[in-house]
Symmetry: C2
Subunit: 415 residues, 2 copies
């Protein structure tokens, strides 16, 4: 008998029929003897409906009252799921974030969880009840309703699993696991049985949108075994686990990519201490997050800087960079938004030198020019022209032999 925390996202509970489907899944786990704590999101579309109502009465609504409004979305789902379970003869009890004391700080709209009270949940589990908790929401020390920001239901589930020392935290979604890369780009992309937390963090932050990055960080920090599964297709999903467990024998776990970046370059700046700060600091001061940063080795006491930002921030970053460039008497400022980032991710590459050269070789063979390179312990990222993105991903997927054997490919079909 295991204690499992399950989380069902907005698509999984998007209609009353789907809520009934989820209730039947939960009932099957209960019949199997497991104790279950279930976290649910708002029915898909509901959060947007509420945001439209808010927009109508206040074009810039945010803060405390927005959280009072948005938290109703999950509250509707917990009640409906508990009713659906009751109808199946499966006793259940719903709790809002406030009722189960998911204590957060007071940062409305993006609060962070501090502690969770366990007594009520353990009491209900002891009575054989399924505990249904509203995701995405909590309460601050003054009793105000808070929300964790979009996608925060994953974080609720992981935090509950950590607090309850659950055997596993299962995130049910509309894909059946984490893939070697996006199957829409590479048709023979393979579902991974396991992936490490570090790899998952790189995959998530690099554009693979299966899990919310905060929940992965949280799970890694509190040693919560995390599994991604499909609500609609039976299967083992992907277990996100610790490196010392029995890993798949692979150098590379997957290929992540992103089209959301813009590249900015300033050339001919003095190669002095403090110059990097003057350039990047000018952009950070505008509250813009800088992703990759590359500085070339200089000549004649001058050097070049290139960095990338989210494409939405590109115009503002360019303004900040121009000002800094003026102060530094830089030679030139230029930029490009028609770029993309492709990253190889894998803990196996730590101890293997040849990965980078094999990557560059595969891209060169296809005539893909590399504009920037950045490496970390478990990933290599390159910036290329956007038009080559699909070609590059497919070439790398082949070069590192990430495709599964045919029989595996069948059960990795996406919904």
């Amino acid at each position: 008998m295991a204690l499992i925390v399950q989380k069902y996202g907005g698509t999984s509970v998007g209609t009353t029929e789907r809520i009934e489907h989820v209730a039947r899944k939960i009932k099957a786990f209960r019949d199997n003897g497991d104790d279950l704590v279930v976290v649910v999101s708002a029915m898909s579309g509901e959060t947007n409906r509420l945001l439209e109502l808010a927009e109508a009465v206040h074009p810039h609504a945010r803060g405390r009252e927005l959280d009072v409004l948005l938290s109703t979305g999950e509250q509707v789902t917990i009640a409906l799921l508990s009713m659906a379970l009751a109808r199946l003869g499966c006793p259940a009890r719903s709790y809002t974030g406030s009722q189960v004391h998911i204590l957060t700080d007071s940062e409305f709209n993006k609060a962070r969880i501090r502690t969770i009270e366990q007594d009520r949940i353990r009491g209900d589990l002891g009575k054989g009840r399924v505990v249904v908790v509203a995701g995405f929401q909590g309460v601050d020390e003054h009793g105000n309703i808070t929300t964790l920001g979009r996608g925060g239901s994953d974080t609720t589930a992981v935090a509950l699993a950590a607090a309850l020392k659950a055997d596993e935290c299962q995130i049910y979604t509309d894909v059946d696991g984490v893939y070697t890369t996006d199957p829409r780009v590479v048709s023979d992309a393979r579902r991974l049985d396991r992936i490490t937390f570090e790899e998952m963090l790189e995959m998530a932050s690099l554009g693979s949108k299966v899990l919310q990055i905060r929940s992965v960080e949280f799970a890694g920090k509190y040693n919560v075994p995390l599994r991604v599964l499909s609500t609609f297709i039976e299967g083992p999903g992907t277990l996100i686990t610790f490196e010392d467990e029995n890993m798949e024998d692979a150098l590379i776990s997957g290929i992540a990519f992103s089209r959301d970046e813009g590249q900015l370059t300033v050339t001919g700046v003095p190669d002095h201490p403090g110059v990097a700060y003057k350039i990047i600091g000018a952009v950070s001061a505008l509250n813009i997050e800088v992703d990759m940063i590359v500085q070339n080795v200089g000549a004649d006491g001058l050097t070049d800087f290139t960095f990338t930002v989210h494409r939405n921030d590109y115009e503002r970053a360019m303004e900040g960079l121009r000002e800094a460039a003026n102060e530094l008497n830089a030679r030139e400022v230029r930029g490009d938004t028609r770029i993309a980032k492709v990253s190889l991710v894998g803990v196996g590459m730590r101890s293997h030198a040849g990965i980078a050269s094999k990557m560059f070789e595969a891209l060169g063979r296809e005539g893909v020019n590399i504009l920037m390179i950045s490496t970390s312990e478990i990933k290599i990222s390159v910036i290329i022209q956007e038009k080559y993105l699909e070609l590059a991903v497919r070439a790398l997927h082949d070069a590192f032999e990430l495709a599964g054997p045919p029989e595996e490919r069948i059960d990795s079909a996406r919904t």
Copy 2:
């Protein structure tokens, strides 16, 4: 500077435009220097939408989880109204029933209020904020969300006014006050400036659906001055007040009527002690509420009983009555659902003997036969054939000269 509790019903906050309208009304009161606590219902249609969702997952959903679901309706409104007020530069803070500790018993779906915590509300008022409270809902001693049953937002408002010792509790609705009778039946029905609690109770229970009867009882019990006004038409509305205040000089305040009754008669039962109990007890045992009861003076040791019940309960009541009649060897059992009840209400009739005869005379002149009569201190009710209902109401409205002068009739126009 007065402390006013205002309540806006579902129609008054039925769209975001109407919520903005209500916000402007509230702002005007604030600019006038009044302290305001505002109670709101769910947007019209929202409660039914939620009930349909519940029905889809559980055809007989009720109890704890239904209250978790339904309470979201008011929570949406408090957030939206607070946002709309903030946009007008009018600081506001919303509270769910749970947050402001509207402590109730644990009778889910029809809970009763026990106490209300004042500290938070007074703290906000002291900071110049409008306090916006979700109607219809509370929390029990275990932290479970409860609801007061349909229409319970009126009760929330009155309970808050009582707890805060407010100067007035204003119920905003889609009619601009209490009328001498339904203006859809009598075109020159007049809006009353004042009516006593006792009269209002009789009017409400007799079918005038302006106010929820529980809230009127509550207001009378805790001496809360209650005013009914229109959200959409400016005007003084109707003040529900205490008898010792300066009352209008009228014998009759209004005429209430109801089509919702069924009449049952049993004839030829023994005229013994305990027989009334055997008859009425048989119906009460079925959880059916009995309204009017009349027993004629008997002859030959036998007597006749007639009583009325809500038309929905008529068939079941008839079954119960037949069984009781069998045991009592009654002569006959009969019934009629094509009846209506018409009542004159007014504290003035206490000291005036001629009211009843004047009523019967007016009905007789129009050829309306009276089937049953029942009287109390401040009302006379008659049961008549349903087809004569409008005729009877108009005849009585004329006979007791309830119509207002023309200039009053203009501002009493209904929305």
